[in-house]
Subunit: 692 residues, 2 copies
């Protein structure tokens, strides 16, 4: 049952694609109280209750025990004590003694989730502005709640097939020759690769939709050459538009009044990478149309994918903020500075970025009404993603393009994916990467992944290696790192052969990963799920935080600790361990339900297949198009009939298509014996069937 | 075999108490190369080699795979990517295919430990100044290397018995009445307590050896009243001395030339809590004597313990640094600031603290020679600790006082303990706390512990609870938190009864913890050891990073993950699990060697006793002196004869004394049956013996 409960004057967010009728009932489960300008929903927690949801956040899959704040933030340090990252995914799912229930707080302003933080036994959710639509979803099991929610919010974005390939990225790639060299290093070593991201350095003065004609003298030719080598370029687009007369985007935006404004109607100025910048008011359809169409300039160069950044929106400082800081610093510096003044000076300087005063100083047009930014802050990135998606669609409505964003709100999942933001080269972030996956999936974001190897700080080769062993399963598989950090491309490291082998596993698994992605998108399922969702009666599975279900058939449990040579794994049922050293070299080990220690050397990565299931493994390839989805080995631990249905298509059609004409052998364990043959196998167009 | 190899002109550090003859051999294991002004020692690592040591640092017990920098730093954020904390403990122990070996780089300047970071298979240690004494220790097993090293560096500091009690601390306790109230809250609830720390707020303007006569009108009476309630006050002393005419410490220091100086001989000025401050030149015996004797003023008030802080030395900024920043900021602010200028402005402001230029701008007298600070930086805190220890000894040579420090170098372990610095209320820091323990012990620091519940950030009650379950085993057991964070005293929380129960376990274990501490101090053993040290042939034990050995008989393995209801534990041999809910309520579960999942509810903490060993458990008490060390229950899983020797004394004698007259019953498991009786037990003065 799905019911809506409104408080204050809820704002339209476009999160939902279906109308939920307003309930005449009192909101169950929660006590509702007014706070200073807001409204607070409190729910008493049983001692062992669990809470899921919140999409892109720090800490556990079970969110209980911390305070989270939906306030999209350019946060460069994903510490466990942080309250906000780049996204606001206001879905909670409570699981306790009785039936579970889900609740979505549809409010584009600040929402605070105190989930057993202030009081261990109370969840208190506060809409700071008090204008919120509460969507209550009651189903008898956790996955059904997700399905119901996902049906409400609409089908997830579908990336092209090539976007499931390995992507190399780095803040700093600045020239045609550099891109070609990077690609060559991969190809020469047979390290699979399908894309190279261009970070802000490809632009002229960080101007959106520009590219540096000196360092990229012929972008169209570069794109074409790359595509012939099965590589796509993926340029970045930032939210802020450089204030510069003569720059078309700036001039048009100013002339047409497309930018966010101060209260007096003049355009708001904030500083981001280009320096003083304007911010398109993506809330307005005509601005989205205008900005979205700007992507065509790059599409005309042969580009087929983009990433949108800085769209929380990040603000290094505002014009007004800088002026105030300037005055304060001048005041502080006129006297012999004391300790208090020194700390105040630090606060002044550090407080300029992403300052709340700035977010209260500019305005949007939101469904025809002027709206102060902070009331709708968390929608900004989502509407930018929508603008880009609409621009791509207007360029070619019959083609899937790659698009992913840093900031998001529920609803943006229909238009693009998200990466997990500017993480660090920390071992703890492998686990954070893993934990975000099922939470993001619940909120509709299926195309996602983290910066493998870590964005900030210096990576080490074992960290990158172990991280790739997780990234091999995430739809977005991108190695990305920050300027001034250690070079992080696979070929820089002594263990490159082991890393290459991980990519062979990735590419061999593409038929499975692609099929599962499409099935989940089309049927509102999660590709990654907490064990708790599939085994709700298993008290141990409920609290597993370092393993997740992948697709209908699998479970993943990567190593995420330095110097480890294995890890503990809990099997909620009998499973077949596939211990991969490469796509061509792996062990098949049937393992019984229960706790296990698994030996995993640096070059070994595990995948667990549920007993009775089969998954397809291809022969792989060095780019996605080279992977033959119809020439398969089936892996499984069989105890009867089994089948697997496969998606395969041209990779860009907007309507994913089932495979046509498969060829498979079976490789697995049955009756305690390993085998590899085609016996007992029926193959139809899109389905392989193992007879019982 | 122990050999010394000198490079450059090694400086005297007082780390060693014995002379190691200079070897005529070439240094084995390492290739030695000159670097720019320094010397680098490289060692090829086998694929599976492990590296232990480095005392107080981030990351694993096995230090392989990161870069560490010995440069004592006031580091408020203990991220895994940090290179330096507050201490320099330059001991490495390499364990690989052949015999293990230890190597101590005795150099008080900057030393860089690149342990398979730049190249996964190379350890490269660089003495930046090139003046280093390399002490090589070759023994046939890991614990023997530690014993040999510890014999070289001398007996560890012995704290008084009461210092093993629970200590409550918080930055912000500011008045007599507040201290009394805190103690009362504990006593009223029967939460055991032995000490209250006074952080900087007890002073007048943060002046060392002062106390605020308004908020503490009669410190002597407060001390006396507290002591009658079995509570000790433990005031903080900072390294910097406020520059203030009329303040005796300042005036005497200036008059006698006791402070560190600029190159021109005038006293160096840096800003710390008191604002502009001078820094005693603790390198000189006469300065240590003068400063140490200053502690007498507080001892006269009945104080029996101190903590030394800010002695890296921390510098918020220097007089010169502020002037330079001031000029730079003025310059930046005269023009319309651009993006580069803005980031530069941030760098200028943030770069003022702990600036390397400042550390190069002042001088010590080191063994009669003028020495620029940066050459001997890492000794500053150690010599401050020595000053305090000497002052305490000159006050009463026959009494043990409590003394612990933030900064340290090997050698300081003879004079005081260390706490693990300004950690955060992060779950990951429970594990960091655990990992530091064996590493600190190797370097002689036996009296240690972390800020339980976490210093910075806000704690949650489950975090404090789980952290206390580890802290129950650490010699220093202190709950400490920062100003402006959530109140963190046990009685603030709903789960206070569970927390109290943890303290009952701590106090019941005091006879064991105290005896093991004294044995380890007197015989140069480690109280906490990696499993690798006790089970070097066990390939699984070698890499265990979240369990450590405690004393001769035990292993600890606390829960360190939020929302967990248990954890995996590897038993390197058969052990008895004692699952404590309180000192009076526990399960005894014999468990076989191997991997186990252990259920541990929030109120349950595990202790593992090696099969065949017994440990004493007292009836506990609400303060240390109330614990009867002679009235014991012996816990164990018996398969033959066993015995335990106990230390017990007045708690302050400088020569620890064995117990005299014990009374015990035996409670354990034998032949698969639990029992509790006194049968088969022989008790002599200090030893309980179970007949086989």
């Amino acid at each position: 049952m799905i019911r809506r409960f409104d408080y204050g004057a809820p704002l339209k967010t476009d999160a939902l694609v279906k109308d939920v009728p307003l309930s005449a009932d009192a909101l169950p489960y929660f006590t509702v109280t007014e706070t200073d300008g807001g409204v607070c929903f409190t729910h008493a927690l049983g001692k062992d209750d669990l809470i899921f949801g919140l999409g892109e956040t720090v800490r556990g899959i079970n969110k209980r025990g911390h305070l989270y704040r939906s306030w999209n933030t350019d946060e460069f340090s994903h510490l466990e004590s942080k309250e906000s990252l780049y996204a606001s995914h206001n879905l909670l799912i409570f699981s306790g003694q009785g039936s579970p229930f889900g609740v979505f707080f549809d409010d584009p302003g600040e929402v605070v989730f105190d989930l057993g933080y202030t009081d261990a036994n109370t969840a208190a959710i506060t809409s700071v502005n008090g204008n919120v639509s509460v969507i209550l979803i009651e189903e008898d099991e956790l996955n059904a709640i997700v399905r119901a929610f996902r049906s409400l919010i609409g089908q997830s974005y579908l990336p092209p097939k090539w976007a499931f390939g390995y992507i190399q990225s780095r803040w700093g790639y600045a020239a045609d020759s550099e891109v070609r060299a990077i690609v060559r290093e991969h190809r020469d070593r047979h390290i699979p690769l399908d894309g190279v991201c261009l970070d802000i350095d490809y632009m002229v003065d960080y101007k959106d939709f520009s590219w540096n004609r000196e360092s990229f003298p012929d972008l169209k030719k570069l794109s074409k050459d790359m595509k012939e080598d099965h590589i796509r370029l993926i340029p970045i687009i930032d939210a802020g538009v450089k204030e510069q007369s003569g720059y078309d985007v700036c001039d048009e935006g100013v002339a047409n009044g497309y930018f966010c404004t101060y209260e007096d109607g003049s355009p708001f100025v904030g500083a981001v990478w280009p320096g003083r910048s304007y911010f398109p008011d993506f809330f307005r359809p005509e601005v989205r149309r205008w900005f979205g169409d700007k992507y065509h300039a790059l599409l005309d160069q042969g580009i087929e994918g983009f990433w949108n950044d800085m769209n929380e929106p990040a603000l290094f400082y505002s014009e007004n903020g800088l002026k105030a800081a300037h005055e304060e610093l001048n005041r502080l510096l006129t006297t012999n500075i004391g300790l208090d003044a020194f700390f105040h000076l630090k606060d002044v300087v550090l407080g300029m970025a992403n300052n709340r005063d700035d977010y209260r100083s500019f305005y949007h047009q939101h469904h025809g009404k002027r709206m102060r930014h902070d009331k709708v802050h968390n929608l900004y990135g989502a509407y930018m993603t929508q603008a880009a998606a609409e621009g791509l669609r207007s360029y070619d409505p019959d083609k899937r393009f790659l698009l992913f964003s840093r900031a998001s709100y529920v609803g943006a999942h229909r238009h693009g994916g998200v990466w997990q933001g500017d993480n660090s080269s920390w071992w703890s972030h492998i686990l954070l990467n893993l934990k975000m996956l099922p939470s993001l999936n619940m909120c509709g974001f299926l195309y996602t992944g983290a910066d493998l190897g870590g964005f900030s700080s210096n990576t080490t080769e074992d960290l990158l290696l172990r991280w790739l062993q997780l990234g091999a399963f995430t739809p977005l598989m991108r190695n990305h790192s920050a300027l001034h950090t250690r070079d992080q491309e696979i070929y820089r490291f002594g263990m490159q052969e082991d890393m290459r082998n991980i990519l062979t596993v990735r590419y061999a698994l593409l038929p499975y990963l692609y099929s599962e992605f499409m099935k989940c998108a089309l049927t509102q399922e999660s590709m990654f799920r907490p064990l708790a969702f599939d085994y709700p009666a298993d008290q141990t599975a409920l609290r597993v935080e370092d393993q997740i279900m992948l697709g209908k058939e699998c479970m993943i449990a990567p190593v995420y600790q330095q110097n480890a040579r294995g890890r503990y794994v809990y099997l909620p049922e009998d499973m077949l361990l596939v211990r991969f050293r490469s796509a061509a070299d792996y062990d098949l080990l049937p393992m019984e339900q229960g706790h296990h220690w698994i030996d995993l050397q640096l070059n070994e990565m595990p995948l667990f297949i549920r007993k009775g299931c089969i998954i397809p493994l291809s022969r792989g390839g060095e780019w996605v198009e080279a992977v033959d989805f119809t020439d398969l080995t089936l892996l499984g631990w069989l105890d009867g009939a089994a089948s697997y249905e496969l998606y395969d298509d041209d990779g860009t059609t907007t309507q994913p298509v089932l495979a046509d004409g498969l060829n498979a052998i079976l490789c697995g364990v049955k009756d305690g014996r390993a085998f590899a043959d085609g016996k007992g196998l029926t193959v139809d167009a899109s389905r392989v069937i193992v007879n019982g």
